[in-house]
Amino acid sequence: MKLYTHIVMDAHGDTRHTFNPDSEVEVREAMKRFDELLKTHVAARRLGEGRTELVRSFSPADEEVLFFRKLVGG
């Protein structure tokens, strides 16, 4: 069974939340977490070979999604 992952950049480097894409309950929880994170974070999926894509809605097919806080001038 392959677990999918939400990776959130934070003070620990990152925190990883895994879920089973075949479990309806876990997918629902993952969707809730995704929607909550998207209020304050940017989400991106990895396409391979260094290519990435921003994600604006939850898809249970995304194996790995990375979240980082929205950007500000630094």
Binding site: A11, G13, V42, R46, G50, G74
Partner: protein, 131 residues
């Protein structure tokens, strides 16, 4: 003989200045070395290595910086402490809002993803530095 006297006057100042610079370098070297050994920094290192392209990873491992092409075609050099707009020839700066708690590799990865996917959005929030 006048120039000899001038040099004698300058030497103490130069030695003091060089010592100050050396102390700063040693301080940065120690702090950077310690930070890189902390678990968050190690996690961030592992993460960025997974998400960089092979070319970017090669440059990152060799120089600790790498180049990205923005979604609108701009070229940028991302380094630990700065982003250089290679076309405009000056520096820009933007960070994730919680930048102060993030390891530097996380910040670099966030900058890469932002520029490669939403260059316009990143530039809208970025500070443009005059150098």
């Amino acid at each position: 003989m006048r120039w000899l006297a001038a040099i004698e006057m300058l030497v103490p100042g130069l030695v003091l200045w060089a010592s100050f610079v050396a102390l700063l370098c040693i301080r940065d070297w120690v702090l950077h070395g310690l930070a890189a050994r902390l678990p968050p920094a190690q996690n961030a290192e592992a993460l960025i290595r997974e998400w960089l392209s092979p070319e970017q990873l090669r440059d990152y491992e060799q120089w600790r910086k790498f180049q990205v092409t923005g979604s609108a075609g701009g070229r940028y050099l991302i380094a630990p402490g700065y982003i250089r707009d290679l076309d405009a020839g000056h520096h820009i700066c933007f960070v994730p809002k919680n930048w102060s708690v993030l390891p530097v590799a996380d910040i670099m990865l966030a900058r890469k993803i932002a520029l490669e996917n939403d260059e316009g959005g990143a530039l809208k929030v970025a500070y443009r530095l005059p150098y």
